[in-house]
């Protein structure tokens, strides 16, 4: 469409302005993270301090917290994605009584606010001794991820080729074989998107690990950061370095696989 050069020029100004508004705060935290810890440190050691990162890692115990995050995230991703593939396969390719009802039951879980079910769940899991364990932190996130994952995989299986399924069946393949040898291999992009989104949501989750591990024994990276902010109040450089380290794994994944993130969050939101 033809527009005047003035409008085109104005658009570039708007584009750059908004990009700067988004990047500004990120630049602030990154520059704080590399900055001097105090005014005296600035006079003696200059303005560039990459050693903040190992120091924050040490003092803030981010090594341990990140390990907790990785363990929880791997459990949630593996269990939730597997369960979602199986459930999405049933809802997306099989006709049976109650299929529509089941679809709505899972859809409900996408909307339920965490804070509504996490309080009674905490007290019930405390009775069976699952609080302050990796499983207690992972379980509610598995349930939430299954709600979205089933919805996501159902959409994929519904659009997958019917002819392909029928051909495989004529070859004598059972439903298990059709799923794992035909549909899953060609559905790798959809599954990768689900893996990435589930990993991101679990890594970034705050309320569930906060509630499920009151003793702090399964403190994940975001919680470690909040805790660090409360404990370590001298200067902002180390806190900023910690913040950068907590965000970095997901931001790196985003940089390389952003299509999956954007596509997943946009299409995953569009309900029928």
């Amino acid at each position: 469409m033809k527009v005047s050069p003035i409008e085109r020029g104005a658009n570039y100004v708007v584009l750059v302005a908004f990009a700067l508004i988004v990047l500004g705060p990120i630049a602030v935290i990154v520059s704080l993270a590399f900055g001097p810890q105090s005014a005296s440190a600035a006079r003696e050691g200059g303005l560039f301090h990459p050693e903040n990162f190992p120091e924050a890692w040490e003092i803030g115990r981010f090594g341990q917290y990140m390990l907790n995050s990785v363990i929880v995230a791997v459990i949630v991703v593996v269990v939730a994605v597997l369960a979602s593939i199986l459930a999405g396969y049933a809802l997306g390719t099989m006709k049976f009584r109650g299929a529509t009802l089941m679809f709505y039951v899972f859809l409900l879980g996408i909307m339920v606010p965490t804070e509504a079910f996490i309080v009674p769940l905490y007290f019930d899991l405390r009775v069976v001794g699952l609080t302050n364990t990796v499983w207690g932190v992972a379980a509610p996130q598995i349930a939430m991820s299954i709600a979205f994952g089933t919805y996501w995989m159902r959409t994929y299986f519904r659009t997958s080729s019917r002819a392909l399924i029928d051909a495989a069946r004529l070859d004598g393949a059972g439903s298990m074989r059709i799923l794992w040898q035909v549909l899953v291999p060609i559905g790798r992009p959809a599954i990768l998107t689900l893996v990435l989104l589930t990993f991101m949501w679990t890594w970034n989750e705050f309320l569930i690990p906060l509630v499920m591990s009151p003793s702090g024994s399964v403190r994940t990276a975001p919680l470690g950061l909040a805790f660090f902010q409360g404990q370590y109040t001298q200067g902002t450089a180390l806190l900023a370095a910690g913040a950068v380290m907590v965000a970095l794994p997901i931001v790196l994944l985003y940089v390389f696989l952003q299509r999956h993130f954007i596509k997943g969050m946009i299409e995953g939101a569009v309900r029928e």
Partner: protein, 301 residues
């Protein structure tokens, strides 16, 4: 498809009998985990909300008292009011900005749009705690925002943004705007790119300007995307927790407390589990109601 009608002979009936449970076998693991760790606790929440319990001792049945408290407890009323204010910052403001931005960018195909899309979407993937820590630094009394204001001669406006009764809630809300605008814009851009070019060409031949074009063509065509954007962002606003927990802890005073923060505080700090779950139930009902209303309005045409 798994009903076995394509098979012939005596195996047909056997297969259909066997296949009736096949879908349920596939559903079982998901249903079990989802049922035990989400649906069941949700039912328990409704049950808890009729009792007074400190989380340790015996509980007493109190009927609807916990719900009545939501209406009469000033702090809880305030929390819901603050959530409503946050809806403006999380949903309304990003929608207005997003509509303007997306329609400008769709009209003139400028270079670097893909890169721009990736940049403005970035806040969506950063942990909210990191966002909160970052903005706490920006809003600090001697932080970059006040520094900037003093630099451009507006030092009179400088203030401790997160310590001021009047400005803290908008300051927290604007963080939500920063996070949500990219998502809304990317959604709307996707919708607008699907609008057939001919519609605009025809409108232009009729002599309509950009403003008419926007209201007559663009807006009706992205109705669906607006519905989705509003649903996502309103729910995000109502569920705000990390941001408030890390930036203000609900303060100063009660000026930024929100329902989610009250749920956490009452259940785990004050030992008011019944009230906390009642707030959770009300919040869930509000989320579902808003979802319903927004989608109803969105589907009307």
């Amino acid at each position: 498809m798994a009903d076995g009608t394509t098979t012939v002979g005596r195996s047909a009936s056997r297969r259909s009998a066997r296949s009736a449970w096949v879908p349920w076998a596939y559903l079982a693991p998901a249903l079990l985990l989802y049922g035990v760790f989400l649906l069941f606790p949700l039912v328990r929440a409704a049950q808890f909300s009729f009792f007074e319990w400190d989380g340790l001792g015996a509980s007493t049945f109190v009927g609807f008292d916990n719900y009545v408290e939501i209406i009469f407890d000033e702090r809880l009323r305030e929390a819901f009011w603050h959530a409503l204010v946050l809806v403006f910052f999380y949903a309304v403001l990003p929608l207005v900005i997003g509509l303007l931005l997306a329609s400008l960018l769709t009209r003139a195909q400028v270079r670097g749009l893909g890169f721009f899309r990736s940049v403005i979407f970035l806040p969506q993937v950063i942990a909210m705690v990191v966002v909160a820590v970052t903005w706490r630094q920006i809003y600090a009394p001697d932080g970059p925002l006040n520094g900037f204001l003093r630099m451009i001669g507006l030092g009179a406006l400088a203030r401790p943004w997160l310590g001021d009764y009047a400005f803290t809630l908008p300051a927290v809300g604007l963080i939500g705007t920063w996070v949500c605008t990219g998502l809304v814009t990317v959604l709307l851009m996707a919708g607008m790119s699907r609008v057939p070019r001919e519609l605009y060409e025809a409108a232009r031949l009729d002599g309509s300007g950009p403003v008419r074009e926007f209201f007559a063509i663009t807006l009706p065509m992205v109705r669906g995307e607006i519905t989705v954007a509003l649903t996502l962002t309103i729910v995000a606003a109502l569920k705000t927790f990390d941001l408030v927990y890390v930036t203000t802890s609900g303060g100063p005073g009660t000026s930024t407390t929100v329902p989610s923060y009250e749920i956490y505080r009452r259940a785990f700090e004050l030992g008011e589990v019944g009230v906390a779950t009642a707030v959770g139930v009300v919040l869930t009902i509000i989320v579902f109601a808003i979802n319903g209303v927004v989608n109803m309005i969105g589907d009307r045409k």
